[in-house]
Symmetry: C2
Subunit: 400 residues, 2 copies
């Protein structure tokens, strides 16, 4: 399948027929399951390009996600839409193993038996880092206006020169954080990571507030003031800067450092202030460790992906400020519009490796095309959007 | 004053006379106030070395600390022992400013007026980083068996070659963390830091547990199991290692990542497990950022100081493991027995700069001497020791 002429649309096509869906890929992480699947446009003929060796099918890539703890909801969603038939057929396999679904992330190992039992299909496991890199490379090369910088509330798209993309640092912020030096297609090394990631934000956030969802916590952080709980340089220096070493009075000296006070208990702090301090601590820490690793390998570009970010303005701002602060303005954080689906997209792209023996969909994944936006600069994930209703990516595929 | 022939003793001398105390120095941080003062041995004559231009006084350096929030307790302690008279006299100053006490840390600015009001002495502010470095250099050069490594429960003293000490990375873990590249006496640069430090451990720990003190939280962490709350690689991978990238199933993938579960609230977790996860997250993070900074500047030695460590076995072990893991065995974390008093010692050493116009104690601080241990390898701070009863450092001073 060759994805091209792609743009973004805000919603799934509600009346898409089940028979038009094919090529499901899963990324089953510690906290979230991400799904990518292709749906053919109703009016797209299977063979509309007789001059070409390969015909083109118009359709779209759809994105969806579920909490890993609610995997049964996810499997029911797959069954209801018959997405599980969107794998590829392996004629040599014994009965029952004929349909294989591409999946990556630790859950591809952990839940393989459950998926086989519930869906009657087998999992073809794809290596997690391979998929993250393949997904990021696809987005950076194939999708127009995918990467952008974000600072002081200003979003600026970054032009990606295909001949000057590598090397770059890919920082994928899921439950934990992986840092990958990418040197080309399939050429990469996981150089670092940190356990202080999205799972830490949501895990500590749940324990410290009454929030019922990650998004509620994120939204709350937007309204909070971290200075209530964080110990600032000015708190230690009596309101003064510590100018000799370049620390202003508002620099955070110690995250949560004011909570050491005997006079206040957890219930005396506003949840929004806690959420804000937590988000700032974690985003700043990731930005710092990312920058130090980029510096170590002389990488000029740092792309941040993973479901932690969710296009959340304050998260991106904090990461950007951290990279800017530690690099003294020499490095820039960049973000990806399809940030949360790198691994799932990579697993999806790996159908290419299955060759053309796919009697169901008659499609095969091919090299990266150039995508043109159809709906321009429409944001895929609204800041506080419904995570089960992500934007889809319009595209064309080759049918063989 | 020239400190030499020093060793460690576990307790303050209970019957030391007030008149024998001189040279008080303070380090007033965001969480703790650290005090260092010299007390003359009762039987030590002021002039016992008639052959020398300078006479030698036998005595000891005493260490004490208070929470910054309880500064009034600290000032009462100082008054009760008349330590505030242990500054130096400045005859040219107007009345009321004649006695100056050396102090460093942000509180030297914040509390200068309060100290003047309560003690009737003025603060002579010393720069915080200058003091940390001076204190560390003094300990590393002057005190035998000051630095050690700690791994898997084994403590090994490190021989410090005075001709091959510099450069090194000093990581001071107070409320926040400072990372300083030290190139010589007074030659240094603060290259990095992190806001995730001791204040974060104690602040978050207070909010998440019912602990009443930092030491209670630290002690609790000793009994806990971080695997209850941390999301391990094996939790994501169904018990398997993620061997391709060198992560074992027991590696922490996401600190506090299991707390995202809907089924358990804060009260369902044991405080000791929370304390352990918190300590591991923060120690590991500091170890990682320290190593990345050491690598950046090609520093072979990393010394960890600051009151966060408190000779706590698990803290040192986690930092050591982090440095070992990230450096692939190439770097080693080292610790200091007087870890918590670097800044206060540095402020104390700065009396040297006051010259010899000190009619009260007739002493002046001079160059670093070599210290010999008197009581051998006696640990200064017991693992769960009383923080208001720290070990003192026996020494001799020159009286002029």
């Amino acid at each position: 399948m060759d994805v091209r002429d792609a743009g973004f649309q805000g919603n799934l096509d509600a009346d898409q027929s089940e028979s038009q869906i094919s090529h499901l890929a899963l990324d089953i992480g510690g906290s979230l399951i991400k799904l990518v699947y292709f749906s053919r446009n109703k009016d797209s003929p299977i063979d509309n390009n007789k001059d070409s060796k390969d015909s083109v099918i118009e359709g779209r890539l759809n994105f969806s996600n579920f909490e890993t703890s609610k995997i049964n909801d996810c499997l029911e969603f797959i069954l209801s839409k018959k997405l599980h038939l969107g794998g590829f057929r392996c004629h040599e396999a014994p009965d029952g193993d004929k349909i294989l679904i591409k999946a990556t992330g630790g859950g591809a190992y952990k839940f393989a038996d459950l998926i086989k039992e519930k869906l009657g299909v087998s999992i073809e496991k794809e290596e997690e880092m391979d998929c993250l890199v393949a997904g990021a490379n696809f987005l950076l090369k194939a999708v127009h206006q995918e990467a952008f910088t974000y600072m002081d509330g200003r979003k600026e798209f970054v032009h990606i020169d295909h001949n000057d993309l590598y090397p770059y640092l890919l920082v994928n912020i899921g439950s934990g954080v992986s840092m990958i030096k990418v040197d080309g297609d399939g050429k990469f090394e996981r150089i670092s990571g940190t356990s202080v990631g999205g799972g830490t934000f949501w895990g500590l956030g749940r324990l410290l507030t009454n929030c019922k969802s990650f998004d509620e916590l994120l939204e709350l952080s937007h309204q909070g003031n971290n200075r209530v709980i964080d110990m600032l340089v000015g708190d230690i220096y009596g309101g003064l800067d510590y100018s000799k070493i370049g620390l202003s009075s508002t620099t955070i000296a110690s995250s949560f450092g004011k909570a050491i006070s005997d006079n206040r208990e957890l219930e005396d702090y506003k949840p929004e202030d806690i959420a804000r301090s937590l988000l700032r601590m974690i985003s700043n820490n990731i930005g710092q460790i990312s920058y130090l690793n980029a510096l170590r390998f002389g990488l000029k570009r740092i792309f941040f992906g993973g479901f932690f970010i969710r296009s959340h303005a304050f998260t991106m701002d904090t990461i950007s400020v951290a990279v800017n602060f530690w690099s003294k303005g020499e490095a820039k954080a960049m973000f990806l519009r399809h940030e949360g689906f790198l691994g799932a997209l990579g697993a999806f792209m790996s159908y290419e490796k299955c060759g053309r023996d796919d009697s169901m969909a008659h499609q095969s994944v091919q090299r990266y095309p150039v995508c043109k936006p159809i709906v321009g600069d429409k944001i895929c994930y609204p800041l506080n959007g419904d995570l089960n209703d992500n934007g889809s990516l319009e595209c064309s595929v080759y049918a063989v």
